[in-house]
Symmetry: C2
Subunit: 393 residues, 2 copies
């Protein structure tokens, strides 16, 4: 019989989908260049030419039988070595090949990390505002997701509420910094305080609490922002990385799990990920993509457009009277809507050809997300639409 769990997930209303449909329809009417789509997190800058060149070189020079052959289930050895080496050089932790598991993007990495350190019935704690997909990602493993209410002042961590919700059934804490949707970066102060709390609770509960750090935006940090490497702040950290945003390869589904060498069970967790793959049909990212990302481990796409766009939008929104926390990275910001119901606010914005995502799905009603991974020229043209929306209040 068809599995009810998945059947019932079909047809769920999605504001983003509704907007996408509206944008397509409206674009056909007034021209796509006149619809200001701030709803999607699809990078707008090209992948580094080094990636393209390496792909072509592999295809032209390597034997197809070897090139397209099976990868070991934890990833190609040389690729795992190269990732460990890059992390070691850049962040100073003694990563080795054995700590790296190659995964299909951050979603693939998280699917393995959750299963490695929690069992059905456990609780994973995360922080609002957060990526809405965390709910199905976690809940379909059989674990529960508990969300700490947002720190609305700075979108850092509400420590008091965290301590309150950090009960002994919590075996993992999931963070995302730089953050989708707020664009803020957890500071050294925030991470140290969180680490102190987790260390204290580990001792109190007598079991490890793993920190699963979802870091697809790690390389998108704006000038002068304090952006510590999470695993340097807390030993039991499992880093989930994706190359989707930093080198603009979202469709190629490539990332990794990096288990901190200081982590409890550090020598086992990557190997366990290989076993988890057998149950979820993962079987490694494609061989050629694994090999080609080695050419871009230490570089990024030209990400300057995101910071430029952030600056322009932040200034304009402040002038229009929006309450907004200045983003420290990513290509998102998360201002407060001009009315309590952010769905109503976003519908009004839509009428001005401005596609914004209400904060409700991120666990933070009353706010909205702007994804400014679009051309600066379009950002500038959109300001008039923001002014029209503001004028309605």
């Amino acid at each position: 019989m068809l599995a009810e769990t998945y059947k019932n997930m079909l047809g769920a209303k999605s504001v983003i989908r509704e907007m996408f449909a509206y944008g397509s329809k409206r674009g056909a009417e007034i021209g796509y260049e006149n619809v200001f789509d701030y709803s999607l997190g699809n990078p707008s800058v090209p992948a580094p030419p080094e990636f393209t060149r390496e792909m072509i070189r592999l295809l032209q020079e390597e034997s197809p039988v070897t090139l397209h052959g099976y990868s070991p289930s934890l990833g190609i050895d040389s690729v795992r070595e190269a990732v460990a080496d890059s992390l070691r050089r850049r962040f100073g932790l003694p990563y080795e090949k054995q700590h790296i598991f190659m995964a299909s993007g951050a979603a693939g990495a998280l699917a393995h990390a959750f299963r490695a350190v929690t069992v059905p019935g456990d609780t994973i704690l995360t922080f609002a505002p957060c990526f809405p997909e965390y709910h199905p990602y976690v809940e379909l493993t059989g674990a529960k997701l508990k969300v700490v209410p947002a720190d609305l002042e700075a979108f850092q961590v509400n420590l008091e509420k965290t301590e309150e919700l950090l009960t002994s059934d919590v075996t993992a804490v999931l963070i995302n910094t730089p953050n989708n949707p707020s664009g803020t970066v957890y500071s050294t102060k925030t991470l140290k305080a969180l680490a102190e709390l987790l260390n204290r609770k580990q001792r109190e509960f007598g079991h490890p609490i793993y920190l699963i750090s979802d870091e697809p935006y790690r390389e998108i940090v704006f000038a002068g922002v304090d952006a510590p490497y999470v695993a340097s702040c807390y030993d039991n950290t499992i880093t989930c990385y994706s190359f989707s945003k930093s080198v603009s390869l979202p469709g190629e589904r490539i990332g990794y799990v990096a288990v901190s060498p200081r982590c409890e069970g550090a020598s086992l967790i990557a190997d366990m990920c290989g076993q988890i793959s057998r149950g979820i049909g993962h079987n490694c990212p494609p061989s050629i993509i694994q090999l080609a990302v080695c050419a871009v481990l230490d570089i990024t796409s030209d990400l300057s457009v995101y910071e430029r766009n952030a600056e322009i939008l932040y200034q304009e929104l402040k002038e229009l009277g929006f309450s907004v926390v200045k983003p420290g990275g990513t290509f998102y910001m998360f201002p407060k809507a001009l009315e309590a119901d952010s769905n109503a606010f976003c519908r009004k914005a839509m009428e001005e050809d401005l596609l914004l995502v209400p904060g409700d799905t991120f666990g933070c009603p009353g706010y909205f997300r702007i994804s400014y991974c679009i051309d600066t020229e379009k950002v500038l043209r959109s300001l008039e639409a923001f002014r029209r929306v503001a004028a309605r209040y």
Copy 2:
């Protein structure tokens, strides 16, 4: 805490791994060309040049932002259309885009198919000899795998035993034809009889029984062999395909789920696979690989070497007195060992530099698998080693 299920899976003894280690050590001593490794199922013929050309064309001509952009979660629309079109033309069933879900190889396809039509506690029935990974694939979904004993005469289906084991808790039946490890192809007679039994039991139980057809070897069928398309024989069929073997792309992890248009719930199952992906971190095969396989939907690598090797080995083994069912396709055959303990037999073969896999892991003790996806020249040189093994009995 580390999840015991996966932790306990580590360090399980694997005869294949043991052999791989032996082969590497022995190869270093006497030269790799003198170790006859028949243990691995890694295609030995190159991918069609059409695939390489299309990959390079995409990289040179398409905008990187579009090319490497996110794929919709069911796969790129044009790719799903092209797959449906190819199946419709070649097999005569009215497949449409809505029936196709792009997956990361057959393992990814099976992970979705199992979850779409069974729930934890259900039983999936399959047939010995079978791919040993079916056990973790199924059991880690929470379902149970029940294995029908082999038809040792012909490696078709033991119908009497199947009827006996086909109890009402069975909601899916998993078949693999052409078969790994036997190399046999289920005949029209076999599939019709199986379909008749399943149809009768569906009525008796009052619930559908889905036939999940694992078909990575579908295109590797030898001359004159009766190889019906499974979904043409039984309506409730979900086909899981991989491009790994037919176009020699095992490392690129690309395949699909094709839901028979005649299937109960045909319009829902691919959509449900999109939801299942959210729970298991799947998120589509890479965009560029999806686009490039469209160039090879109707072609294969030059697979003639497999049939040539099969013929040579079959003749030699018969002459040496082995009992062996002639393979109808794949690059495997599954002869009876010369002693009851096929592990002991394979260890003796290893002493003659012949790496063979004991049948125990395939649910068929007393037999052994030969994977003859190696050069014909090497097959010919290996015959002397087979003779030496036979001479020990």
